[in-house]
């Protein structure tokens, strides 16, 4: 093989074929999906993210939540995701039409989160869990995200959104822990993660 041209043409053709197959055709097939509108209720599924949810999504990305949490309910032969209660059905391309980037994830150090909003609708649980995961799950190896919260002196009455921390987690008397803007946005995003709607054929 002593011809530079032969090598060049060969590597061009082989790579173009894969580009067509793995980039262009999937785009043709999936690029035109739009959210489905429920004919009876008029609900749009999946619902578009609100502004604060999008900010929360950015927090999710910047703090790298997707390195330990997937966002997909798999089917397949062993098919255990449904039994774990991670969702009522496997996820489909429609579920991700609003997602940019799609955070399918590659690792399950922690549980799947695509339906965490449906599984865990409590604000308080999410805040306590983010402040220190060991408050809600004793053996958790998720890192604490104290930097999504603010420790401040109580002025007048305690804030309504101060965390109900007890025992060793409580701040010193006269202080309270409240979520900051990023913390609030993240919880808003987590609660929006709900792909339990029925997919219409």
């Amino acid at each position: 093989m002593n011809h530079g041209t032969l090598i060049f043409v060969g590597v061009f053709l082989t790579f173009s074929s894969a580009w067509l197959g793995l980039v262009f055709f999937p785009y043709q097939q999936l690029g035109s999906i739009t959210p489905q509108v429920d004919e009876v209720t008029g609900a749009v599924n999946p619902a578009p993210y609100s502004g604060v949810e999008l900010v929360g999504r950015k927090v999710y990305i910047d703090e790298g939540c997707h390195y330990c949490h997937s966002q997909q309910v798999r089917g397949g032969y062993w098919n255990a995701d449904l039994k774990r209660g991670w969702g009522p059905r496997r996820t489909v391309p429609l579920d991700y039409v609003n997602d940019n980037p799609a955070l399918l994830g590659t690792m399950r150090t922690g549980p799947d989160l695509i339906n965490i909003g449906a599984r865990q609708p409590s604000d308080e649980w999410h805040y306590l869990h983010l402040y220190n995961p060991q408050i809600t799950s004793e053996a958790s190896i998720m890192p604490p995200y104290s930097f999504l919260f603010e420790r401040r002196p109580i002025q007048g009455d305690p804030s309504p959104d101060a965390l109900p921390l007890k025992g060793k987690w409580a701040p010193e008397p006269g202080f309270e822990i409240v979520p900051n803007d990023r913390g609030r946005a993240l919880v808003a995003y987590l609660k929006s993660l709900d792909r339990t709607f029925d997919v219409q054929k």
């Binding site: 093989m1 002593n2 530079g4 090598i7 060049f8 060969g10 082989t14 790579f15 074929s17 894969a18 580009w19 793995l22 980039v23 999937p26 785009y27 097939q29 999936l30 690029g31 999906i33 999008l54 950015k58 990305i61 910047d62 703090e63 790298g64 997707h66 390195y67 798999r74 397949g76 032969y77 062993w78 255990a80 039994k83 774990r84 496997r90 489909v92 391309p93 579920d95 991700y96 039409v97 609003n98 997602d99 940019n100 980037p101 799609a102 399918l104 994830g105 590659t106 690792m107 399950r108 150090t109 922690g110 995961p133 053996a139 190896i141 890192p143 604490p144 995200y145 104290s146 930097f147």
Partner: protein
């Protein structure tokens, strides 16, 4: 046939005795070429080694954080979710890619028998590249990530790296165009493939997935699951069309070079190259098996992944047959030992990768530490080990100084080799248990082993046991199981994660030894005594020369 020291008595020490008296001009030519490469190649190597040290520190920190979640957790810039992508991007774009560029430029000049033109420009490219990696890392640490694995760097940092890389690509292509050697060697095919494929890949994925950030959110031309397909087309191909071809090009050069004998079969290498070019590109979508993408996409990728067995076997046979009868040399030559370890791991990781594209194997192992073990076997045990070998071979020819200490090379080799093997073993076992428990197992492996002992516990874990009253088989693997609670699965991984941190310390120790050796060689500190031959594990130059001088005179010497 003259030995290494005789042929190069006036010049640099060489490990290979391929220079024959009839080719005296060749030695001079090589010195001219090496001198022209000196600055850019050393600049790329020095940068890559600094990034390697930084990247492995971040890797170790990320590993420790997995079992000490409270460690440094109050510093938002050191939270796990930022440290982990910093580790990956530093070792991929800082260490791996820069070491590959240094090696590639030098190989291309040597194999084309032509000097590097205007070496100052690639040096500038190296500086620009470092700026790109640095700002990308800082952006990740202060919390600006793209959220796309392997492409976390912000678009502008990726653009800086792309420009630097583009310049190197043009320079390598120009060098190839001005070649004086009529024969185009197999290493050059792989390099030409890599420098064409990777810029295309890097540019298209960055444009398709990121485009221009608007209001802090990226507005990409494609969204949703198509992104995932493109993402893994990239993630898999970054290894497939960049790191792997450069690694193979290096092995194809260094094995025959150190041994002083030609590669076993030219035709096998042609077959290997074209099947590699055809199939590897297609393999990416097997990262999404059973996920929310069309089944045909996964199927074509699984087929392509299985077909990879052809190029992998040809390369394995070719390298093994070249080495046959010369395994004794491994006791002497550091370059050969690193490169051979890397070449063997290439076969191992590729066969494992092909099998991992099968749905039955992928389903339990995906989303577990098993995949992390596989990734390190590829990018570290194969690619990084080969790059270590290349640095040991190339640098003395550029600086004119041999390596300062065989003991430090020994620390480097055994630290990194045992480290990565230990990491592979513990994460593979831990990952398999984790995957089985997440999917098909009905009971926890750790609890069964505590009760029943290792053998009986594992047997019951996989196959179940006979109920003494009903006589039915209970337990074992079952479809739609998901019976082991998630927290139990997670707790089971911690022991393996702690062992992984130990392996990380071993590898870091190896890297520190490597860094010291490189620094001493570059500065010439403490190296007043000029060695008579190359630095060897066993200081027995005569025996080493005997071992590799039994080879037949070659029909074609490598430049």
């Amino acid at each position: 046939m003259p030995t290494a020291s005789a042929a190069n008595s006036e010049s640099l020490p060489a490990e290979s005795p391929v220079t024959r008296p009839s080719q005296k001009g060749v030695a001079t030519q090589r010195q001219t070429i090496d001198a022209s490469c000196r600055q850019p190649v050393l600049a790329f190597f020095a940068s890559s080694i600094i990034w390697l040290l930084a990247g492995s520190l971040f890797g170790l920190l990320a590993s420790l954080k997995m079992h000490y979640p409270g460690l440094l957790a109050d510093y938002h810039w050191l939270t796990f979710g930022r440290v982990r992508p910093v580790h990956l991007n530093l070792v991929a774009y800082g260490w791996g890619a820069m070491a590959a560029v240094g090696t590639m430029m030098w190989l291309m000049c040597r194999l084309s028998r032509t000097r590097l033109r205007y070496p100052a420009l690639p040096v500038i490219s190296c500086l620009v590249w470092n700026v790109g990696v640095l700002v990308g890392t800082v952006e990740l640490l202060i919390g600006h990530s793209n959220g796309i694995e392997w492409l976390e760097f912000p678009t502008y940092a990726a653009l800086i790296i792309f420009l630097a890389f583009g310049l190197v690509v043009v320079w390598t292509a120009i060098t190839f165009g001005e070649r004086k050697e009529p024969h185009v060697y197999v290493s050059q095919w792989y390099i030409m493939g890599a420098i064409f494929w990777f810029p295309w890949l890097y540019a298209t994925t960055n444009i398709l997935l990121m485009a221009i950030p608007i209001n802090g959110m990226s507005e990409a031309p494609i969204t949703g699951v198509t992104q995932a397909s493109v993402n893994w087309w990239y993630g898999h191909n970054a290894l497939g069309v960049w790191f792997t071809p450069i690694g193979l090009a290096t092995i194809y050069y260094l094995l025959p070079k150190v041994l002083g004998r030609p590669i076993h079969s030219y035709y096998l290498s042609i077959l290997g190259f074209w099947t590699f070019a055809l199939f590897y590109n297609w393999a990416g979508a097997h990262h999404l098996i059973s996920g929310p993408i069309p089944a045909w996409l996964v199927t074509v990728s699984a087929v392509a992944s299985m077909m990879m067995i052809i190029p992998v076997s040809t390369v394995a046979i070719n390298h093994h047959m070249t080495m046959r009868g010369f395994f004794d040399v491994l006791r002497f030559s550091p370059t050969l030992r690193f490169v051979t370890a890397g070449a063997m791991c290439y076969t191992l990781v590729s066969i494992q990768g092909s099998l991992m594209s099968l749905r039955s194997i992928n389903e339990p192992t995906h989303f577990t530490h098993y995949t992390i073990a596989h990734a390190h076997l590829g990018l570290y045990a194969f690619f990084t080990m080969v790059m270590f070998g290349a640095v040991y071979y190339i640098v003395p020819r550029l600086t004119g100084r041999e390596w300062g200490s065989s003991n430090l090379i020994r620390v480097h080799f055994w630290g990194t080799f045992l480290g990565v093997m230990m990491m592979f073993v513990v994460l593979t076992i831990g990952g398999l248990i984790q995957g089985f428990e997440l999917n098909q197992a009905t009971e926890s492996w750790h609890e069964l082993v505590d009760d029943q002992g290792l053998w009986e516990g594992t047997r019951r874990f996989c196959f179940g046991y006979e109920d003494s009253q009903t006589g039915e088989i209970v337990g074992g693997f079952q479809q739609q199981s998901g019976a082991v609670p998630f927290m139990t699965v997670m707790k089971g991984t911690i022991m393996w994660l702690k062992l992984r941190s130990v392996s990380g310390v071993l590898m870091l120790a190896g890297h520190v030894a490597f860094g010291i050796l490189f620094f001493l060689n570059l500065t010439g500190l403490g190296l007043s005594r000029r060695r008579r031959g190359p630095a060897l594990f066993k200081e027995d130059q005569q025996r080493y020369a005997e071992l590799i001088s039994g080879t037949q005179p070659e029909t074609q010497d490598l430049p």
